[in-house]
Amino acid sequence: MNTSVLKKIWRPFLAILLFIGLWEVATRLFSIEEWLLPAPSDIVMEARSVIPTFLPHLQSTVTLSVSGFLIGTTVGLGVATILHLMPRVRETFFPFIIISQNMPIIVLAPLLVIWFGFNALPKLIIITLACFFPIAVSALGGFTQTNRELVHYMKMMGANKAQLFWKLELPHAVPSIFSGLKIAGTYSVMAAVVSEWLGAQKGIGVFMTLAASSYRTSRVFVAIIVAMIISLAFYGLILLLEKFFIRWQQKGENN
């Protein structure tokens, strides 16, 4: 198990190291100014000194994105369930939902602030908007792709609509739901940072704008890297949950 993970991981790991090395060498070789493009070593130094003051920002963003993600997941699953169980509603509103996704969030953000002020609500709305769609689409896909033979079996056995949904369609959709969750998890961090640009007391987005406006580029990079790490951690967490929830399938693939 461990050796196989190592075998899989060493190539991309080496590539990242190589990239960082090249970056370091390039900034030194061409003596690029730190405010323009800081060397990786500068970023590390900056990170060390700034981390204590950075922690509250980090905490705020994590809380924001987790709450937004949870709301987005609930809304996404709810929307998918309604659209699935009510075909008429699906026909009527599905195009509308797709159109809603073609609206750039950044454009919507100032409007939400006008309507709801500088509190948490517009931020949560932005994250929810970013998160619910991949979940709704993947869940809906999972529901509709339910194995015909299993559906036939359930109907022959006299299952009602609720039983069909809870005992068959929902568990059947779990793998697809997880692929939506993975996308939504990474979106949620991005959306949280963007929403913080709008105005907040704390958060990685706030930290980033402050650093950028004073040309402390190393700090901007620290913020970017931390945001990436949070995003990855989310992804990893969801992956673990997925492994736990669909272990029946995992085993099958390995055999």
């Binding site: 194995n147 033979e149 299993l150 036939h152 079996y153 359930m154 109907k155 022959m156 056995m157 006299g158 299952a159 039983q163 005992k167 068959l168 568990p171 059947h172 779990v174 669909i246 029946w248 399938q249 085993k251 099958g252 055999n255």
Partner: protein, 241 residues
């Protein structure tokens, strides 16, 4: 137990079943044979209540169950087990839909069926034959007293199939539920049933009903006996004319 009275069904212009009347008594094993496309599965969907007949009624123990669901237990052609459920959880599905789950009875039944070792396994860990066994036990454990078996062994290879037929008889002869069994295999029908209903095609009508005279319990030797072959010949003649 089960009674179909002059049941007819057509899809659009095409008549699939015409005036089907049949009867399954308590504890009886009845097979329906006929060429593919003879509307056997339509007949099951009608009995299961998924479709409404154009004419005729369906009765179960005196109650009119035409176009009503939940009165029969079903074993499909493909095992159709739920991949996320263990074998134990799978065989309890039928009970779950109707109400109470009886773990002890399920466990005892799985043990007796030779599935004791895989109670906590997932379906993908089982072979095709084993999955069909689980599907049969699932049908047997469902609270309904009539089982519909829709060509349950047609996807299995010949060796596994004969094993499965013997196994099915051994389990069922202890339990004595009523079974309505669809097949297109004459040997299978003769070996398993008390009564064979032969259907014609386009539209399906009942050509003949044959009472199978073989005593139970039956074993493999029956398959090669002179008597068995004579009956087989007789059925083939009915099908051809």
């Amino acid at each position: 137990m089960l009674e179909l009275r002059h049941v007819s069904k057509s899809f659009g212009q095409k008549q699939v079943l015409q005036e089907i009347s049949l009867h399954v008594s308590n504890g009886e094993f009845v097979s329906v044979i006929g060429p593919s496309g003879s509307g056997k599965s339509t007949m099951f969907s009608l009995i299961g209540g998924l479709l409404e007949p154009d004419a005729g009624e369906i009765y179960l123990s005196g109650e009119n169950i035409t176009n009503k669901r939940g009165f029969i237990s079903y074993m499909p052609q493909q095992a159709s087990l739920f991949p996320w459920r263990t074998i134990m959880e799978n065989v309890l599905v039928g009970q779950e839909l109707q109400g109470k789950k009886d773990y002890e009875r399920a466990e005892a039944m799985l043990e007796r069926a030779g599935l004791g070792d895989v109670i906590h396994a997932y379906p993908h860990e089982l072979s095709g034959g084993m999955k069909q066994r689980v599907a049969f036990i699932r049908a047997l454990l469902s609270p309904q007293s009539l089982m519909l078996l829709d060509e349950p062994f047609s996807a299995l290879d010949e060796f596994t199939r004969t094993d499965m037929q013997k196994w099915l008889l051994s389990i069922w002869e202890d339990d004595e539920q009523s079974i309505l069994f669809i097949t297109h295999n004459i040997d299978e029908a003769l070996f398993l049933s008390d009564k064979i209903i032969i259907l014609s095609v386009n539209p399906a009508e009942i050509k003949e009903v044959i009472e199978v005279p073989f005593k139970r319990p039956r074993d493999e030797e029956l398959l090669l006996s002179e008597e068995f072959l004579q009956w087989k010949r007789r059925i083939m003649e009915v099908i051809q004319f």
